[in-house]
């Protein structure tokens, strides 16, 4: 109801100049006309301060990233020193800057790994835990514990497992001597997979918690009906539960995509995102905190990240805000 009012307010041109539909004569909205001048100002302030903060700290920098990506600015000599150089940063990115395609590839591997392994595993755990067998709460807690930890701590904890000499894994494999050590985090052909396992340790629990909440809201009558019709549990899940869970499936899909694009902490804490762990996010960071602060160029990488993220974000927003009834 409130939403419908909000929706009609946003699609039909309002009579009031300020945007608050206070002077609308429609009888349904009678209470709006009861807003005093002071109330209108209060509402403007209440919405204005948050909007200003988001505007200055997020929207403005997003737009500035786009503009700066067409310039060659190293941050020295004020805004006057900004020179527009067209698409040069982008052509350099593609033709000259070697870490770019590896980073893009690593982000993609990250996404595929999450989509094919971490996320389905989390959903699978949720389905099993939803059966309410004995000990469910304990299993749930164990699987969900890593979710509260920061990725930086996750990185540290897994270093204890991956360290070449002191690490658990090489000790168990008997590969701790110089020469036969496996450098899980140092070898660029395996370190991405090593941190993906660490990242999944946390992602699985995250997906499990979200999916489990969705399953709890699932109408048990549907499941009973399927079982009476002779459907097996697997059939029931894929033909009945999964399709009905469509909204939460989409949320989880979007979270998976966005988490893959946001991947940063683990790679950075492991080796500053170099040597096999390049990601778009670490390239942006290294371009501004390095000795040579290349703002225009770093912005171009940020814009690539923006362009990739915008699709799933908009898709998600339309689904979650439009289907609001």
């Amino acid at each position: 109801m409130a939403d419908r009012a909000a929706r009609s307010g946003s699609t039909t041109p309002p009579a009031g100049a300020g945007g608050v539909a206070s002077s609308r004569p429609a009888p349904k909205k009678k209470h709006y006309s009861l807003l005093t001048r002071r109330d209108t100002i209060t509402l403007w302030v209440m919405a204005g301060i948050p909007t200003l903060l988001v505007g200055v700290f997020i929207l403005l920098p997003t737009l500035a990233s786009i503009v700066l990506s067409f310039t060659s600015w190293n941050g020295i000599g004020g805004l006057g020193a900004i020179k527009f150089i067209g698409l040069k940063n982008y052509s350099d990115l593609i033709n000259v800057y070697q870490p770019f395609f590896p980073a893009l590839e690593h982000n993609l591997i990250w996404l595929v790994f999450f989509l094919l392994i971490a996320t389905p595993l989390g959903m699978f755990f949720a389905v099993l835990l939803d059966k309410n067998i004995r000990g469910t709460r304990i299993y749930q807690s164990a699987l969900y514990m890593p979710v509260v930890l920061s990725l930086a701590i996750v990185g540290f904890i897994w270093q204890l497992i991956y360290a070449p000499e002191q690490g658990l894994l090489n000790n168990l494999l008997g590969r701790t001597e110089q020469g036969n050590q496996i450098s899980w985090l140092g070898d660029p052909s395996i370190n991405l997979w090593a941190i993906l396992v660490a990242a999944s340790w946390r992602q699985v629990g995250y997906v499990m918690v979200l999916y489990l909440a969705g399953l709890k809201g699932f109408d048990p009558v549907l499941r009973e009906a399927a079982s009476i019709d002779g459907a097996s549990e697997v059939q029931t899940f894929f033909r009945v539960v999964f399709p009905v869970m469509r909204p939460i499936n989409i949320v989880i899909l979007v979270i998976t995509v966005i988490e893959s694009l946001r991947a940063f902490d683990l790679a950075f804490i492991t080796n500053k995102g170099l040597n096999g762990l390049e990601l778009l996010s670490t390239l942006v960071t290294n371009n501004i905190i390095g000795e040579t602060s290349r703002i225009g160029f770093g912005s171009a990488i940020a814009v690539v990240l923006l362009v990739i993220s915008v699709g799933p974000i908009i898709f998600y927003l339309f689904r979650s805000l439009k289907e609001d009834d």
């Binding site: 409130a2 909000a6 929706r7 946003s10 309002p14 945007g19 608050v20 539909a21 909205k29 209470h31 109330d39 209060t42 509402l43 209440m46 919405a47 948050p50 903060l53 988001v54 200055v56 700290f57 929207l59 403005l60 920098p61 099993l128 067998i133 299993y139 807690s141 164990a142 699987l143 920061s150 930086a152 701590i153 540290f156 904890i157 897994w158 270093q159 204890l160 497992i161 690490g167 658990l168 000790n171 340790w201 629990g205 995250y206 979200l210 909440a213 969705g214 909204p247 946001r262 940063f264 902490d265 778009l280 960071t285 940020a302 814009v303 990240l305 993220s309 974000i313 979650s320 805000l321």
Partner: protein, 296 residues
């Protein structure tokens, strides 16, 4: 007769499946707990003990030396305090501002309602690296007055980190709170207006108290997320002594160089506040997460 037999067989089969399921879940839970358990185990063993016995071994001395050393050498109290200085105002501000925003968009008809909600939520979903380069430049010049800033700008200041957290988290909180507020009957507003209550009074004395469960869940979630943030201070602060604890981990790594026992103890110490959230406020944390993904 044969029917009874098959029923019994089916029952046995079901029991067997349950048993298999239990075994599988126990195995998975053990695997999941193993990394943390390993860190815990390593943290109790002095370095020379693991050097003699090897890391994967039982025996020798167990004590809390690593905790004492990482706490002192790593200057953890200082970094914990930095986190508190950033975190407490950030959580209060983000809940206060986003509840006001949610109140206006969910309970009044604005022209830009939907657009604003979309922009807010979208801003929250962006990877932080998309905005960091210009934000870094903005922080270098954006003025901030004396008690809140000792260099006149936002860069390298607690207030800067607090505000970027507030701006970044506001989208999620507004989204959750406005969904929550939509479930509060609109008639309450009308009753308040009839009683002559102002908009502010309606928000503060009627709607906000009813939103308390959502606020509690969000507060838990925000404390955890802001505590866990690694990125913002890394770029927007330069004084290492001002770093919040999670960002400081990056420097600690250099200090504890190759001493895995110290790293283990330090990790556990830094994880303790979030583990408290895990044990004590699990319900709030989970309901905060799910409030954001499902609708009432």
């Amino acid at each position: 007769m044969s029917q009874i037999v098959t029923a019994g067989a089916a029952h046995r089969r079901k029991n067997l499946r349950r048993g298999g399921l239990q075994a599988f879940l126990i195995t998975m839970s053990v695997i999941w707990l193993l990394p943390l358990a390993w860190a815990l185990y390593t943290s109790f063993r002095p370095y020379d003990q693991t050097a003699t016995y090897g890391y994967v071994s039982i025996g020798g001395i167990y004590n809390l030396d690593n905790y004492v050393n990482s706490f002192n050498q790593g200057q953890l109290p200082m970094y914990f305090l930095n986190t508190v200085i950033i975190l407490v105002p950030a959580v209060i501000l983000v809940l206060f501002l986003s509840s006001m925003m949610a109140f206006t968009v969910s309970r009044y008809s604005w022209r830009f309602n939907l657009i604003l909600l979309m922009v807010f939520s979208g801003a929250n979903l962006l990877p932080p690296q998309v905005i960091i380069t210009p934000l870094f430049r903005i922080f270098l010049v954006l003025p901030m007055f004396a008690p809140l800033s000792d260099n006149g700008v936002m860069y390298d200041q607690y207030i800067g980190i607090t505000l970027i957290h507030v701006a970044f988290q506001m989208g999620f909180c507004t989204f959750v709170l406005s969904n929550y507020m939509k479930t509060i009957p609109k008639a309450l507003n009308e009753a308040a207006v009839v009683d002559g209550a102002s908009v502010w009074k309606t928000y503060w004395t009627i709607i906000l108290p009813l939103t308390r469960p959502a606020l509690a869940a969000l507060a838990t979630l925000q404390v955890t997320w802001i505590y866990n943030d690694f990125f913002w201070a890394l770029i927007l602060m330069k004084t290492g002594a001002k770093y919040p604890i999670t960002s400081a981990l990056n420097n600690l790594q250099g200090e504890f160089f190759t001493n895995n026992n110290l790293i283990a103890a330090g990790s556990i110490l830094v994880a303790i506040p979030t583990l408290i959230v895990f044990f004590a406020l699990q319900k709030q944390f989970v309901s905060g997460l799910t409030l954001g993904s499902t609708k009432e």
